[in-house]
């Protein structure tokens, strides 16, 4: 009975908050999520239904995300030469697009596309919208298709969860989304277009400096690792391959280096986090010979 009264009390408080206005929905859903009463996705849909107050990365349309991603990828490709070998890139796209389809966001405005960078650095860049660039050095940390899948699934999760867009300063997002500039053919003043282009340029710099210099927060990297494990499970790859890949990376990475050492948490810390999510789960049956053979043929000598 006491439980009944406590629950009733909770409902009364919640009702009062609702009456106070829908602006409190966000706080309410936070409480709901924290107390385990509702899931994250339920909270998200409730919040979306509530009146939008401020512009955030969530308000960036997939079309705008597409143009941001193209520019980010172009800037990265200005610094790193692509590795143009067709067979290796075809294989990477088969693998990557199969994985993306099993992610929480299988479709983006322009779709997922993957390209190898001709660099010995251990590095990868996931541009918003699904343009994923992976260095030869990082691919060399993989001991087979399952581990290569783990690398791509981590990058796909950065895209699916819009981690890149979160690096853009809120003031720029608001400026871009409330700009009245349209295409030039449709009466945009050239001043409007110039201002919008400058906001665009600054947004690209926000993202690329995060990708290249500061890196994402440990929380976002951890989310990307958990997302990778989930995708690997759904497709039938061995999620332990992520741990194996991180162990190889840990041996190869140079402290103070300019690559993953600078922008990513210590592989040992990532391994500890990932092993927590893997605990007690049996690995899938050993892969058929064909899987190993096609990996060796396409990326064996990367």
């Amino acid at each position: 009975m006491k439980a009944h009264f406590r629950a009733a009390g909770f409902l009364v408080v919640a009702a009062a908050l609702l009456l106070a206005g829908c602006e409190t929905v966000s706080t309410l859903t936070d409480i709901g999520v924290a107390s385990g009463k509702i899931t994250e996705s339920q909270a998200e849909s409730i919040q979306k239904s509530a009146k939008a107050v401020e512009k955030s990365f969530e308000d960036i349309t997939p079309e705008q995300e597409y143009y941001i991603g193209r520019a980010v990828a172009a800037v990265v490709l200005d610094k790193y030469a692509p590795y143009p070998e067709a067979g290796a890139n075809e294989y990477l796209n088969l693998l990557g697009q199969s994985l993306a389809r099993a992610s929480d966001r299988p479709e983006t405005f322009g779709g997922y596309h993957f390209l190898i960078l001709d660099s010995d650095e251990i590095n990868a860049f996931a541009a918003p919208g699904g343009l994923v660039l992976v260095s030869r050095g990082l691919l060399r940390c993989a001991d087979g298709e399952d581990a290569a899948a783990a690398i791509l699934a981590h990058e796909i999760t950065h895209v699916a969860k819009k981690h890149g867009l979160q690096a853009i300063k809120t003031s720029r997002v608001t400026a871009a989304l409330t700009s009245v500039a349209l295409t030039a053919s449709q009466t945009a003043g050239s001043e409007d277009l110039a201002a919008l282009t400058s906001t665009f340029q600054d947004s690209i710099t926000d993202i690329t400096s995060t990708l290249v210099n500061s890196g994402y927060s440990r929380a976002l990297e951890s989310e990307a690792d958990r997302g990778a494990v989930e995708i690997l499970r759904r497709v039938g790859y061995d999620p332990n391959a992520l741990v194996r890949m991180l162990k190889v990376m840990d041996k190869k990475i140079k402290p103070g280096g300019l690559d993953f050492a600078k922008t990513h948490p210590d592989p040992e810390d990532r391994i500890k986090d990932v092993e927590k999510t893997l605990a007690g789960k049996a690995p899938p049956p050993s892969p058929p010979q064909k899987r190993a053979a096609r990996y060796t043929a396409s990326l064996g000598k990367i």
Partner: protein, 180 residues
């Protein structure tokens, strides 16, 4: 006796709360949604293995009649050609990641831009960061887009993915699209 009364009161609280919540939060599944990606497929089943019935383009509006694990069941818009060889169908499935609740206006005049700039219900195609801004940015920065354009042409067909998964001994029916 007392217990029954209390539990009756509790039920009243719950009903009252649900009323208030319903007044504040609109229904979960909206009737109309828009395609928010360049191109997407309507399939015969809520899965990427489902046969493609029709192809939808950016901004197309669909009537949503149901949802299941990351997929929306939609009525095929009138005038959309149904793939040849398939029996006439009125409904199919679109992955929810390709849809938005917002109405997408493909062509609009300057007056609409002002009106909708702050509205959460309408999105204007081509507004904000767009092709025009990209062209100006290219000009200002001198950044080369050649490889970006090339990598966007790296495409893989559903048949190639099916064969790749099958050959690798992997799950053809991998759940995606928000399926938890």
């Amino acid at each position: 006796m007392g217990e029954r009364r209390r539990s009756h009161m509790f039920r009243k609280y719950v009903i009252g709360f649900l009323f208030l919540a319903a007044a504040c939060v609109p229904a979960a599944v909206p009737k109309q949604m828009s395609v928010t990606v360049k191109e997407t497929q309507v399939r015969a089943a809520p899965s990427y293995l489902g046969k493609v019935l029709a192809v939808l383009a950016y901004g197309d509006r669909v009537q949503v009649v149901g949802a299941q694990s990351g997929w929306a069941k939609v009525s095929l818009p009138a005038g959309k050609p149904v793939a040849s060889g398939s029996p006439p169908q009125k409904e199919g499935w679109v992955n929810l990641s390709a849809l938005t609740e917002k109405k997408i206006v493909l062509k609009s005049g300057a007056s609409e831009v002002g009106k909708t700039a702050s509205s959460g219900e309408v999105a204007l195609a081509g507004k904000g960061f767009n092709q025009e801004v990209e062209a100006r940015y290219k000009e200002n920065s001198g950044v080369d887009y050649a490889w970006v354009d090339r990598m966007e042409k790296f495409t893989v067909s559903p048949e190639q993915i099916a064969a790749f998964l099958d050959q690798g001994g992997l799950a053809a029916e991998a759940a995606g699209g928000g399926a938890q």
